[in-house]
């Protein structure tokens, strides 16, 4: 009897001490570095009472395997627009109640129109940040600045070229070949892109896999030209005192956009929506822009919290720039043809 | 007979204080069976290894059949070694092991086969030709090691404690076999052992070593009957030592005060009157005297211990001056316990004058 009493007492005590935390909740987010930076998340945790645990991915390819390994761990994820559709089709995410998200209507209409974040009339993703897969060169290596994708095929730059180790290499090669329908390439066009990439291979120093790796390659003087996540690696290199210039080639650049999605069955709905609201507000939008140097999806919020220069640098006032980008699209069942071609290039 | 091995002032100093072999000179005649005898650490193995070429002397010269081989590596010397643990190659058959030493001779296949066969027949193990060393017993491996060395027809065969890994029975048998083998092949044998019986049974000549030096060399019976010093006297057989003083000298006969009495002896060394000496007596030469019986020398004392060892008894006796002497007595008949000598009983011991060793100086046992 006494033992039972003591145990009950202990349990009661435990629930007493634990209850405040449980009531306010903890959310686990699987995201890119910078998207849950303490510089703006700490304040959110204080005011909302929601704890945020962030796990970082290195690639869009990490989302599916991590969620396939078993549910119930993550509440929120931020895949890019070429992967959001896969998340929906895999039934990993649930529809958003957009009425609970303040500022939803301030999001660029172009993003809200994208197929990748909706299904059957419901939204599954909340557009957050965007940018270009621009190209970048080291200033001291060029007398005449490069302007074209073809510059990544120049013999005289042999051993000083890098390219993102991603299926997007096919997009780059296709545009070099004049195929601008990069998200709906035919088998022949993919084969042609594959052939171009194989031709380029002897010129490549290394395919870069992570942002940090590309920065290291420039820093160590191994590479002078490559594609890049616009705004991100160039600013990291600027911090190191290495002068690089980003450019949009004449063949155009791809655009990417990351959206917040709620994992299906997440028990922390209240905190999740509080978190989404914060991320779309000035606090989240300028927070991420300051950390990563990316453009944001809520132009209205950006206008009020950014300096005019920053606003301009991030092309927030430039609808034409956004329109010029070939925003990533889900490849659906063509996905395999693209990845297979890219893998074949690497196997060569 | 001609000298086959000449060691000239050989020394092996590992460091100024660690001395393996110290200024040893030795000549071995062709066809001789010479044994280097001594306790472990006396330098006998080092000396053998220097003859084999496995170690280089720090001073001196080694000549093999009149040729200086002091610094020749083993593979350039016409000597072969039988190693203590036989050192048979585990990855080769018996046949391959024996044929191994013939490779450098560039013989044709048939000759090799015949010589391997002859060598294996000699040791009686030709039927093991295709087996591996691991499948053989200790004694068989020993014989294979011999065959492998002999097949090369070396000028000298070196044997490093060849029988030490065998059990007592097998060891005795192999001692005789080795001796016969030596007679049959006519090769010079130089063996190292710490077992005095082995040395006495097998060799033509025994070299007793002590602390890197030769203590005495000679035929087995000479060493036994005329040890040059207490060390040899005690290493070959056993000897009881008594302190003594020379009282009188006349011709070959010396009168010495020892063991509380006056004894006579025929010393091998020249003494002077009044000199301090050590008298040595082998237990097997001491006789228990019966009532009224007499001898050249008679010691009186009390039995302090009786040890039974099957063949006979060893009786320890304390003499009048406190020194001790051992006496062995054979038991030709089974005796009842009551007739055996008892501790504490008085006893008289007799020793013939020619059985008394006399060494100069004192000995600390």
């Amino acid at each position: 009897m006494t033992i039972k009493k003591t145990m009950l007492g202990t349990l009661g005590l435990l629930s007493l001490t634990a209850s405040p935390v449980l009531a306010e909740g903890t959310i686990n987010v699987l995201t890119w570095e910078g998207y849950a930076d303490p510089s703006f998340i700490s304040k959110f945790e204080e005011t909302s009472g929601c704890q945020v645990n962030a796990t970082y991915v290195g690639s869009n390819d990490d989302f599916a395997p991590k969620l396939m390994a078993g549910g119930g761990v993550y509440d929120l994820i931020t895949p890019s627009i070429d992967t959001t559709k896969l998340m929906i089709d895999l039934d990993f995410v649930e529809p958003l109640d957009t009425t609970k998200i303040e500022g939803w209507n301030d999001i660029y209409p172009k993003f809200l129109a994208l197929d990748g974040i909706q299904k059957d009339g419901a939204y599954y993703g909340m557009p957050y940040v965007w940018g270009a897969i621009a190209f970048m060169y080291r200033d001291d290596a060029f007398e005449t600045p490069p302007t074209s994708i073809a510059d990544l095929w120049r013999e005289d730059l042999k051993g000083k070229i890098s390219l993102w180790d991603d299926k997007s290499a096919i997009y780059v090669a296709a545009r070099k070949n004049g195929d601008m329908n990069i998200y709906s390439l035919t088998d022949e066009q993919i084969a042609a892109a594959q052939k171009s990439l194989v031709e380029q291979k002897p010129l490549i120093r290394k395919y870069w896999a992570t942002a940090g790796e590309l920065v290291d390659l420039y820093k160590a003087g191994e590479v002078v030209i490559s594609n890049t996540w616009a705004g991100y690696q160039s600013s990291l290199l600027a911090d190191e005192g290495i002068k690089v210039t980003e450019f949009i080639p004449t063949e155009g650049a791809e655009g990417w956009m990351d959206s917040w999605m709620i994992v299906k069955g997440s028990p922390n709905q209240e905190c999740a929506y509080k978190f989404l609201n914060m991320q779309l507000s000035e606090q989240g939008q300028c927070g991420v822009a300051n950390v990563n140097g990316y453009s944001v999806a809520n132009a209205a919020a950006a206008k009020s919290c950014m300096s005019p220069e920053q606003f301009k640098t991030l092309h927030q006032d430039d609808p034409d720039y956004l329109d010029s980008l070939l925003i990533w699209q889900p490849l659906g069942d063509r996905f395999e043809a693209y990845t297979n071609a890219w893998n074949a290039v690497k196997a060569q | 007979m001609a000298a086959i091995i000449e060691l000239e002032n050989i020394s092996k100093h590992y460091s100024p204080t660690i001395i393996g072999v110290d200024d040893v000179s030795l000549t071995v005649e062709d066809g001789e069976f010479v044994t280097l005898l001594g306790p472990s650490g006396c330098g006998k193995s080092t000396l053998l290894r220097m003859i084999g070429g496995f170690e280089e002397p720090t001073a001196g010269a080694i000549r093999l059949a009149d040729k200086d081989v002091t610094f020749d590596p083993p593979y350039k010397r016409e000597v072969n070694m039988v190693f203590q643990d036989y050192a048979l190659f585990p990855h080769m058959t018996i046949g391959e092991n024996v044929a191994y030493g013939l490779k450098t001779f560039k013989l044709d296949k048939d000759t090799v086969r015949t010589r391997v066969k002859d060598a294996l027949m000699l040791v009686g193990l030709y039927d093991k030709l295709n087996q591996r060393p691991q499948q053989l017993s200790g004694g068989q491996r020993q014989r294979i090691a011999l065959a492998r060395a002999i097949v090369r027809r070396p000028k000298v065969l070196l044997l490093d404690e060849p029988l030490s890994a065998l059990d007592a029975k097998l060891r005795e048998q192999m001692q005789i076999e080795l001796k016969h083998l030596h007679e049959k092949v006519g090769i010079t044998f130089i063996m190292v052992t710490h077992d005095q019986t082995e040395a006495l049974v097998m060799s033509d000549r025994v070299v007793v070593m002590d602390k890197g030096k030769i203590a005495q060399e000679g035929r087995p019976q000479d060493l036994y009957d005329h040890p040059a010093n207490p060390y040899v006297a005690n290493f070959i057989g056993t000897t009881s030592f008594l302190p003594g003083k020379v009282r009188a000298l006349s011709g070959e006969v010396a009168t010495i005060a020892a063991g509380g009495t006056q004894i006579t002896a025929h010393p091998d060394v020249t003494l002077s009157e009044g000199a301090t000496v050590t008298v040595g007596v082998r237990p097997e030469k001491v006789k228990l005297l019966a009532e009224g019986e007499t001898a050249d020398n008679v010691f009186e004392g009390t039995i302090s211990e009786v040890i039974y060892y099957g063949l006979g008894l060893r009786i320890s006796v304390t003499l009048a001056d406190g020194s001790k002497i051992d006496a062995d007595t054979l038991l030709p008949d089974k005796l009842s316990h009551s007739t055996l000598p008892q501790s504490g009983a008085p006893v008289r011991l007799g020793v013939a004058a020619h059985n008394v060793f006399v060494f100069e100086g004192t000995v600390t046992p």
């Binding site: 395997p65 299926k167 893998n343 | 496995f54 070694m81 050192a87 490779k103 691991q134």
Partner: protein, 288 residues
């Protein structure tokens, strides 16, 4: 009841390793084998029983090519490790007179095992890089005028790095094998007329072969399954089979093909292991 009580200890003793094997070996391999017969279908894959994945592996040249490349790299790493490790171990066992120096040198080879794999691989990046230590050294000697990019981001760099990382696994078994050879065997060989070189070929080397086989197996299998070195120091032509498998499980989301690749890789490795095991066994009974 009494049967159970009597046999419980032995059942536990037997049961724990059996459960371990079942849980951590048979079950995962079973899952992988099952997956290897499934079918890729957007968005993921569906259960099936067909050999299409295996057919793909042996018909699509990209997989055969990567397998051959991985084989080549692994053999080169094993060979390079052997060529470096054998003289080193030989020196330690037979030539190094000072016990302190021997211990010290042995530890110098083994100690890097305690350092993180990644750190060790990164070190080679800084050594072999265009602005790296090797280039500065060669330039200061005047051997080259401008930094060479030939050292890093290619198969050479991968072989160097993997050799460095896995060489302890070659040194250890060879050292042990050499140490077990009684010195009197080499003495006997010399005594029987063989010079140092012939003694080495006919006695020391054959008797150390079990150690060499073990070292080859370890370094080969470790290199065969490596996917970090290609990532860190490999160039565009540095994709190894483990990288392809990782891609199939990640980016390509084609677990069935990835599983089939893993099974083929397992078969290759098991073949090597059983071959070398047979060789070691033979070496132990003296048959080389």
């Amino acid at each position: 009841m009494s049967f159970l009580r009597r046999n419980l200890p032995s059942m536990l003793v037997m049961g724990i390793p059996l459960m371990w094997i079942a849980l951590f070996m048979l079950l995962p391999y079973g899952i992988i084998v099952t997956y290897s017969f499934w079918l890729k279908k957007y968005p993921t894959f569906i259960p099936a029983f067909q050999f299409g994945n295996y057919v793909t592996i042996f018909t699509d040249p990209q997989y055969v090519r990567v397998f051959l490349r991985t084989l080549k790299i692994s053999v080169l790493v094993s060979a390079a490790s052997f060529l470096l490790a054998y003289p080193f171990a030989y020196y330690l066992v037979f030539r190094c007179r000072s016990v302190a120096l021997r211990t010290w040198l042995y530890m110098a080879v083994i100690a890097p095992l305690w350092v993180s794999y990644l750190l060790r691989a990164y070190i080679w990046k800084t050594i072999l890089g265009t602005e790296g230590v090797l280039n500065s050294f060669l330039m200061s000697l005047g051997i080259i005028d401008e930094p060479s990019s030939l050292f890093l981001y290619n198969q050479f760099a991968m072989v160097v790095t993997l050799t460095y990382i896995f060489i302890p696994f070659m040194v250890m078994p060879i050292y042990t094998a050499l140490e077990k050879i009684p010195t009197n065997l080499t003495e006997a060989s010399a005594d029987l007329g063989m010079g140092p070189w012939r003694s080495f070929w006919t006695v020391t080397l054959p008797l150390s072969l079990p150690g060499v086989a073990a070292g080859f197996t370890l370094t080969f299998c470790l290199s065969f399954g490596d996917f970090i070195a290609p990532f860190l120091v490999g160039g565009p032509d540095g994709n190894l089979i483990a990288n392809v498998i990782a891609t199939q499980f990640g980016a390509a989301l084609n677990w069935p093909l990835g599983s089939a690749l893993a099974i083929v890789m397992l078969v290759v490795v098991l073949t090597i292991v059983s071959l070398s095991d047979r060789m070691e066994r033979k070496g132990m009974t003296g048959g080389v």
